[in-house]
Each structure stands twice: as C-alpha cells, then as structure tokens.
C-alpha cells in the first residue's frame, strides 16, 4: 500500500474526490441536468422539462446520430484492419529505417491538429482525378485516418508484448504463417483488438475538428449538430442530444468490452 496511515489515506481520498468532482462529475452532471432543464437562472435549474429530450428525438439531430454511428462504425473497423496490419508489419520489418517510417506515418495524424487532417483531405480531393468533396466518403476517410493512429498504437504495443515463442511453436508444428496468424496470433491479440475498436469508435463519435472541414449537409455528424444547436442558443436541447450520444456510445463500448476472450485469462 502506498499510504500506510489512515490519516494519509483520508487526505489522499479527499484530494482525489476534489479533482474528480471538479473535472468529471461536475461537467457531466451539469450536462445531464441541463438536458432536463427548462430554465436555469440560479445555481440550480429553476424548472425541469422532458421537452429537450423529446426535441432531441423528434427533430433532425437524430439523423445526426445515425450518421455518427455509421461513420464511427465504418471508420473504427477500417482503423482496426489498417492499424493491425501496420502493427504486424512493423513487427515483421527488421530494417530500422523501415520501422521508423511506418511509425512516423501512423503517428502523423495524432501529431498534427485534426483540423489539419480535414484541410489536407479537402485540398487533396476538392479537384483533380478523385473528387470527394461534399461526399460522406470523405468524412469516413477523415475519421479513419485519425483513429487508425490510435488503433496502430494499441495493437502495436500488444504485438510487441506477444511472446515470439507462440509463433515459433506454431511454425515448428508445421503451421504456415497465415495459419499461425489466424489461429494463434490474432486470437492472442483479441483483447487489444477489441480494446482498440472500442477506443476508435468512441473517438470517432466525438470527432469535431476534421469533420468540420469536410462535412456536407447530407452527412452531418452529431457533434456538429450539437455545436450548431449551441451556436443558435439551444443549449438545453444540445445538452439533451449530448446526453443521448453519451448513453449510446457508452452502451456500444459496454457491448464491445463484453467480448471477453480466453486470451484475457492468460
């Protein structure tokens, strides 16, 4: 135990509680509260209503939910495949320059602001042979680029930790590399794969910067709608939409985390 005396433990708990309330509980609590607020003048709402939530479900913001869910699902799946592929490649590449190159390419989207990624796509696909400006494809592309970096990081860390003895044992038993990949390596990486899928999904659900650069009127994600609602002064409806988004994202994450694997018990 880090802190031995009861007094020290109490102090530590108090400090933790203060920061937790300030940084986590308060913003989210206020948000949920605001979702049910009709009027808010003092320290607490003066009157409550369900109309914000009803509005969130009955007007076009919910189209944004569908758009966001499809975008997040597609981009996180793309990211998982690309990120895993790159992570396995990184492990297989023996050349130091090659390793650095792969790492740099996949770090880049995190290293620059997401707006830059959006701008880059916009510039690249606004004219010329491939014209994607104003399509939903470019939104999914932007999200994929951004979250692949995270998938790569997560899976790469897991691949590095994977004991090469398993792969060698499989090879000594006559398993070809692809068979070993499907039957040994990927199953052993499954916890990392589901983990990074969940992370990518959550990140994509909340992505705003790059999306703001490339979105079109027929493919507007939920965060953009929330931003617009807030901009137009509908804070409480924005809060309600946000609360719905949070709930659904958490539900999806919960489902993904339930995909328990036997490799978890290693």
């Amino acid at each position: 135990m880090l802190l031995y005396t009861r007094r020290a433990q109490r102090i530590a708990w108090a400090v933790f509680a203060f920061f937790f309330l300030l940084l986590f509980a308060l913003p989210f609590g206020v948000l949920v509260l605001a979702a049910f607020t009709k009027q808010w003048n003092g320290a607490f709402p003066s009157s409550y209503t369900f109309s914000n939530v009803t509005a969130a479900f009955h007007t076009d913001p919910l189209d944004g939910l569908e758009t966001s869910l499809i975008t997040a699902l597609l981009s996180s799946l793309i990211a998982l495949v690309l990120g895993t592929w790159a992570a396995l490649a990184l492990d297989a590449v023996r050349n130091r320059v090659g390793k650095t190159l792969i790492q740099t390419v996949f770090m880049l989207p995190i290293a620059v602001p997401s707006v830059v990624v959006g701008l880059a796509l916009l510039v690249a696909f606004s004219q010329g042979p491939v014209l994607l400006n104003g399509t939903n494809t470019i939104v999914v592309m932007a999200h994929s680029i951004l979250v692949t970096a995270y998938a790569f990081q997560q899976v790469s860390a897991a691949v590095t930790r994977l004991d090469p003895a398993y792969e060698q044992a499989a090879a000594s038993l006559g398993a070809r590399p692809y068979y070993t990949l499907l039957r040994v390596k990927l199953p052993l990486l499954l916890p990392a794969l589901t983990g990074s899928l969940a992370l990518c999904f959550a990140l994509s659900m909340g992505e705003l910067g790059a999306t703001a650069m490339v979105y079109s009127a027929n493919w507007t994600t939920l965060p953009l709608r929330i931003y617009a609602l807030d901009d137009r002064g509908h804070q409480f409806v924005a809060a309600a939409v946000t609360a719905v988004m949070m709930t659904i994202t958490l539900a999806v994450l919960l489902v993904v985390s339930r995909i328990r694997t036997r490799a978890n018990y290693r």
Binding site: L173, A175, P187
Partner: protein, 463 residues
C-alpha cells in the same frame, strides 16, 4: 537456393528417418559469432545432449535445426535432407522449449491437435485418435479439456511434449525442457523422458541443457560446448570417465583439476597408459608427491598436464601416508546429512573431496592424506600453455608454469609432510558398494559404480 522442397514426399516423413547433421555451421548476429564451425552428427534414434554454460551456443545450434536462425555458412541436414533453406514450418520437427509456449487460448486437446490440423497430413477423423495417443503417452489423457493455465508446470511440460509428439516427428528438439521445473519434478520428468524415448526408439532427440545430470541421464552422447564452439563430444560414460579437455572434465561431473608434471609414462594393458606425475606446487617448487594416473595417450616426461580427480573418488587418510596419495591441509568441512564435503589445500591448490558421512570428520587445519586409485585419475592435456583460462566450474587453480619440476622421478619428494609408509594403509576398493546419494546437491552425478565404498580406512582408525 532451390531446396529439397521440390520433393513433396520428402516433407514430414514421419518416424523412422531421423538424424541430424550439422555440417560446419556458423551463426552470427551482427558480426558476433554465436556458433562457430559447428559439426555434429545425430544418428536416427540417438539422444544427443548439447551441454554447456549459457552463451555457449547450444540453443543457437538447436534453433538452427528448427529454422529460427539462419546459418551464415554451413548446412543443416535433417533425415538426410538439407533443410538449411527451408522455413521452420516445412521441417516437420517436434520442438519443446523451456517455457512450453502452450497456446493459452486453446484447450489441451486443441493444443495437441494443432500441428495435425495445421499440416493437414491426417484425415480429420483420425485426429482425435492421434491426440488421445499423444496424451496417453505423456500421461495427460484426463486433462484433455483443460486450459494450459489450469495446469501445473510439470503438466504443461507434458502437454508440450504431447503436442510435439502428435505430429510424429523423426526428430525431437528439446530446449532446456526441465529448467522451469523444481528439482523434484525435474527428476520425475527425466525418468519420463527416458521412458518416452524407449517407447519411441526411432526418434532422434537433440537435448539442450546446462545441467550435467540431465545430460548424463538421458543422452547417448554428450556434446560439450563453450564459447560458441564444440569442445568435446563422446558417449556420456566416456566423457565422464575419460574427459579429454579440462572444460569437459569440469562441466561433466565435478572434478578437481590439478596441474601436474609428468615424471614417467608407461603403456598399460588395456591400451591406455599409466603416468607417474607430480603435482606442481604454487611456488613452482618440486615438493609434490608422486602419484599415478591413467592417460589415454602417451605423455613425455617433463610435460605439463592436468590431473582430473573426481571428488567422490578421493579417499581420506589421517597421518599415515598412502600409496598414490598426496597430503593437504583441511580448509573447510561441510556436513551435508548423508555426506561430507571436505576442502583441502594441496600445495596451494584447492581440492574437494566428497565422501559418505564420516563419524569423525577432520577439523579445519588438520593434515590429511588424500588417496585415490590410478584407475580413477585421468591425465588430460593442460589447457593453454602453462596459463590456462580460468575455469569457472572446476575447483582447481590455473596451472602455473613450473620450470623447476621437470626433472624425472626423484627418489623421494622433498616434502615437509610425514615420511611415506607405503604399507601402512591399504587402498580401499572404490568400485564396489552402495552409491552415495547426495540429497543436498542435486547438481552432482550419483552413479552407482563410482561411489566410494567406505570412508577412508584411516578414519576407522581414528574412531
């Protein structure tokens, strides 16, 4: 290079055509040679142990057979087929590694079936029978449905062996398979491995270990390795009884290695030679007693050699001089329950003596005589020229250059010790009697025929 992969029937030939041949194999990592011109033949059905300290290249040699390291030069043959350029999965070998590497997400039976499914060499309907057979042989039949994490270390080990045997390889590679087990389990698994080999007499086994007991117990032949090189190879018995190098003498069994100067060497009946030698003293003076030892080749008078004396072949005598004995001062006495281990200073060299428990052990500082039979003392070439590299295993000191003691056989050693009285105490028989099991030190060989029969007779006199 176009390997023999072209012949599909040559792949995974199954039991009966084993054998491994290392043909001048050199392996280097980034210019760092980890296996140097390694040449060794393992006959079909033979068990060969690669024995050496860590970093000696023994695991590298095994991995070169498995295909996980590529030789910089030289060829590796398995079952008469050049596999040097084949990827590991085309070599059809069974392999068991130190940490077993059982697939944690598969049940025991799935682990064992893995190779059969991956290779698609057996009809699906046959797989359960093959798995059951492999599990039966390793005594793991009742654990088929378990996951590896639900098994003990020894059980995991058995599953790993079953998994390797299921594909019916002609060659089995075992890389320190017992080193993760505790001492008691280890000796049980040793017996198990020996039994398995009796059941599968055609399977060649390459067994990498740093444990001399494992090597002596299991191997038909032992290849002693050090510093990326093969030092000596021979049958376990030969290496133990007649080591040809100081390193092998020190690594295969325990030994006292004493620098000696040959006084005389005469042919013996059985083709070997008997040499009369004098222990070189630390100061280089010619004070050492003359003793007789066996040597496999003729030695010229005046030559510097190393005398290899197994600690359990030494007998202890009190003040009386012995035939074939030298005097020393007791520096340490260790009581190990059923045995005594005594260290003595002999002309500046530390000599270790292992004996059955003594009723009246000597005290530190006592003058004793250490005697042995010429049959049990072996003369081996001195390593290097007068200043051998320090041997971490042997208790012996490096042999100092000893120019003063080159004169042949003086009439009597100019010793300050009591005068020799050759007829005072007879040499005890060393080739009979019960073994001396040593429960304290598992690292020592306990070969029945090599144990001293009795405590030294002088001991009896002292009681």
């Amino acid at each position: 290079m176009a390997a023999t992969d072209a012949d599909p029937t040559a792949r995974r030939t199954g039991r009966g055509s084993g054998g491994i041949r290392f043909d001048d194999v050199t392996v280097a990592y980034n210019g760092n040679v980890v296996l140097d011109s390694f040449t060794l033949d393992v006959a079909p059905g033979e068990v060969v142990a690669l024995l050496g300290p860590s970093g000696s290249g023994k695991t590298t040699a095994l991995r070169a057979v498995a295909g996980f390291v590529r030789p910089a030069s030289g060829r590796v043959h398995v079952g008469g087929r050049d596999v040097t350029d084949l990827p590991p999965y085309k070599r059809g070998l069974g392999m068991v590694v130190q940490q077993y590497a059982l697939f944690p997400h598969m049940r025991v039976e799935q682990n064992v079936a893995f190779g059969l499914k991956a290779q698609k060499i057996v009809a699906k309907s046959e797989i359960p029978a093959r798995v059951a057979e492999a599990l039966r042989m390793t005594g793991m039949a009742q654990y088929a449905k378990r996951y590896p994490r639900e098994l003990s270390g020894g059980q995991q080990q058995r599953v790993a062996i079953a998994r390797a045997l299921a594909i019916q390889p002609s060659v089995l590679l075992l890389d320190e398979p017992l080193s993760a087990l505790d001492a008691q389990l280890r000796s049980g698994m040793l017996a198990e491995l020996a039994r398995l080999h009796r059941e599968l007499p055609d399977v060649s086994i390459l067994y990498v270990t740093h444990d001399q007991i494992e090597a002596l117990t299991l191997a038909d032949r032992i290849a002693v390795m050090n510093e990326a090189r093969l030092v000596e190879v021979g049958t376990a018995r030969d290496l133990y009884k007649r080591p040809g190098t100081e390193f092998a003498a020190g690594f295969v069994g325990n030994s006292n290695l004493l620098p000696v100067t040959v006084a005389e060497c005469v042919a013996h009946g059985d083709g070997s030679f008997r040499a009369t030698v004098r222990i070189a003293t630390e100061s280089g003076a010619t004070t050492g007693e003359l003793v007789t030892a066996t040597c496999t080749e003729n030695a010229a008078a005046g030559e510097t050699r190393t005398l290899c004396l197994r600690p359990h072949f030494l007998g202890l005598a009190a003040a009386e001089h012995h035939d074939n004995a030298f005097s020393g001062t007791v520096t340490e006495v260790q009581w190990r329950g059923s045995a005594h281990r005594i260290f003595a200073d002999v002309h500046g060299h530390e000599v270790r003596l292992d004996t059955n428990e003594l009723r009246n052990p000597p005290a530190i500082g006592d003058e004793v005589w250490l005697h042995f039979s010429a049959e049990d003392a072996v003369l081996i070439p001195a390593s290097g020229t007068g200043s051998p590299s320090p041997d971490p295993v042997s208790a012996a000191e490096p042999a100092p250059a000893n120019p003063a003691s080159t004169e042949p056989a003086p009439a009597k050693p100019a010793s300050t010790k009591p005068a020799p009285a050759k007829d005072a105490v007879p040499i005890p028989a060393t080739a009979t009697g019960s073994p001396s099991p040593d429960p304290v030190s598992a690292a020592e060989p306990a070969l029945a025929e090599t144990a001293p029969a009795e405590p030294a007779p002088a001991e009896d006199a002292a009681r």
